[in-house]
Structures are given as structure tokens and as C-alpha cells.
Symmetry: C2
Subunit: 216 residues, 2 copies
């Protein structure tokens, strides 16, 4: 195994996904914190690491991997056990759809740079920011919950009876929903999945407040 | 091959991606227009088709596929020629990163439902909407252009010398950028890729104004 370094921020949902995946696969990566709270990702030194100036970045030997969806697929292709995508192509499409519902249509819209723009350009106060985040989380979680409900073969996780790539997206988003004061009781199946995941050390150890760069 | 139906809207960037992929792979799908301009995607009949109430949906026989990233991966797994992802895992990660830069960090933020929210809740006028879209497009395209520039082995496309999954994301986003009056001369490599793609019938035929549901 090549040496890995993960550029991460404790509260970044996208870095959080990668931390869970590394833990599930039993991989070690040196964590290099990038403090988004002071816009450290915009400094020239980090722009050389990641031209998009976002976390996460995963360096693997001489290779630089960016964009969490690409990193998660790479990890699953390169370290296939435990598999985070099923083998059946229909099932893979289902897991990837759940992942994309969060990864495309919820998370990026509530990202820090977007909320900063809302505050600066549209004068949004914290109530308006929470309403904004709550709207996209609710839209996404309503659909996610509907997909969970219609899946007759589902075990306790988003797909089947073990963690899949979908859970890597869902759990950080649930964490973020709580921070934006979204009432999660509306989505009982999502809440069950969260409980099931958080009982596993791979998920618990990846949580924002368990990271070395989190406030004490 | 099972019969396919694609729920599409001529101007939807996500449906546009799927149209290009189907064309490249020589697949036929019946097009079922969903008129987003009158919010037809919110009607109960469509919510039964797609619980997320977004386009595209690809029905394949009895199977329903949603979320364009999942659909595009499924198409590439199921109809491998021409391959839209390279074989090498590092190269796959690169193509998927380019795709995700557009698919996560540009397109969803400029989606119709987001712009409607900006107009209604924050009183954004068309200039403010164009500035919003322009900001996220510029951020994304700056990084995309930087990745193209650093790739010494690149041919005329986003990766290598043939269309890849990255181009399926890029071309609809360029189309959208033009609609939001973004000056594309800032990104000469992206513009070259667009020219190269649009010379191919698979891309030209998938363009919004070539669709039957486009205004005459």
C-alpha cells in the first residue's frame, strides 16, 4: 500500500465520506487539516495541492485524487473489501442514485462557499441560512426516505444489510442536518440507518467531533 | 436490448448528459418530455415515476433508473462500447473528478429550483441570477481548465483523444453557461473541447434546441 495523506477538515461532509470509507477498508491515511473556518483552502499553498480549492484531497504516493465521488469509486476499485458497491448492475445504479441524491442535490447547495455568498450578496441572516439548508435537505431526504421505503429487500442500511457507498453520503448529511437544526423525526428510516451506521467504529471514528482538528 | 424510455426536458443539463451517452453508444430510447417550464415534474403522475421529482428518469424494461451520475455509470457498465471511462484506475479517478466538478459543484447550484428560490425568497432579479450562476460556473471552469492544462497526455477532449464521461458533463454545462451570458473566452481549452465534441453527431444531436420538445 502506498502512503496516503488526506487533506481534511473536521466538519467537511465530503472529507467525512472519505474518512468513513478509509476506516471501513482498514486503510490508514495521514490527516492534514485544512481549516475552512479561516479559508485556508484558498491559500496558494493549498491551491497547488487542489486546483479546485476544496477538500478533500487524497494523495496516494505521487498521485493526487480530488472530488470525493471519484475518490470513493477509486477506493472501492482499488481496495475491494469490503465492497461498497454491489455486484449487480441494477443494484449498483440504485446505490449510486442514493449517493448522488445527497452528493449532487443536497450537499453542494449547502456548502460553506454558497452560504457565504447568501450572507454577503443577499444579506441572509442565520434564520434564512437555516431555512435554505433545511429546504434542500428536506427535498433530498424526502426522496431518499421514499427510496428506502420502497425497497423490500433492504436490511438496516441504505442498501441491503451492510454499509454501502450510499451510507457514506447519508451519514455526513444527517450530521449536517442536525447542525442546521433540521428535525430528523420526519424520516424514521433514515434515522434507523444512522443508528445502525453509528454503532460501527468505522462510522463513529470518522465523526466530525472525533477528529483531531475539531474544537475541544 | 430492453426497451428504454427517457423522461427528459430539452434544456435540462442532466437529461442532456444521458442523451449524449445514449447517442454515443448507439442506443435508442423513446423520449417522454417533462415540461419543467410549467413544473410538470411536480405533478403526482411524475412523482410516481421519480420520487425526487427531477429529470432524467430512464426506464429500462421494468427497471427505473434515476440520477444521471448513476444512469451514466450503468450505461457504461451495461453497454461498454465505446467505453466512457478508461480502464486504468488512476485515469478513471481523473475522469470522474472532472465529471464531479461539474456534476456536484456547478450544475446543481444553478438548477431551476434553486434559482426559483433565489427569486422568491431573496428577491433576486435576472442580473443577480446571472451573477450567481456565473460565479459557480467560473469557479468550476477555472478548476476544470487547470486540470486540462496540466494533463500532458490529453488529446482534444477532456481526457485523452476521445469522448469520456467528463465530456458528458462539460458540454451541457457550457451550453448552460452561454444561456447565463458567461463569457467563455476565459477558458480556451474548454472551448476547444466543446468544438471537438460538437463536431460529433452524438453530441450535436443531443443539443437542447435539437430536441422535439424545444420551442420552434
Amino acid at each position: 500500500m502506498s502512503e496516503m495523506q488526506l487533506y481534511t477538515f473536521f466538519r467537511s461532509g465530503t472529507a467525512h465520506r472519505v474518512r468513513i470509507s478509509l476506516n471501513l477498508k482498514g486503510l490508514q491515511a495521514e490527516h492534514i487539516p485544512v481549516n475552512l473556518a479561516v479559508d485556508a483552502q484558498l491559500e496558494p499553498a493549498y491551491a497547488e495541492v487542489n486546483p479546485q480549492k476544496l477538500v478533500p484531497t487524497l494523495n496516494v504516493g505521487d498521485h493526487r485524487l480530488i472530488q470525493s465521488p471519484a475518490i470513493l469509486e477509486w477506493l472501492d476499485e482499488t481496495y475491494p473489501e469490503p465492497a461498497l458497491l454491489p455486484r449487480d448492475t441494477w443494484a449498483r445504479a440504485r446505490v449510486r442514485a442514493l449517493a448522488a441524491m445527497v452528493g449532487c442535490d443536497v450537499h453542494p447547495i449547502n456548502n460553506r462557499r454558497i452560504l457565504q455568498y447568501l450572507r454577503k450578496q443577499f444579506g441572509a441572516d442565520e434564520a434564512a441560512v437555516n431555512a435554505w439548508c433545511g429546504r434542500w435537505i428536506a427535498d433530498g431526504f424526502d426522496a431518499y426516505e421514499a427510496l428506502l421505503a420502497e425497497d423490500e429487500h433492504r436490511g438496516g442500511f441504505s442498501f441491503g444489510g451492510a454499509p454501502s457507498m450510499a451510507d457514506l453520503y447519508l451519514i455526513p448529511q444527517v450530521e449536517s442536518a442536525r447542525r442546521f437544526q433540521v428535525d430528523l423525526t420526519r424520516w424514521p428510516l433514515i434515522s434507523e440507518v444512522e443508528q445502525r451506521c453509528m454503532a460501527l467504529p468505522a462510522f463513529a471514528d470518522a465523526a466530525p467531533m472525533r477528529q483531531p482538528d475539531a474544537p475541544k
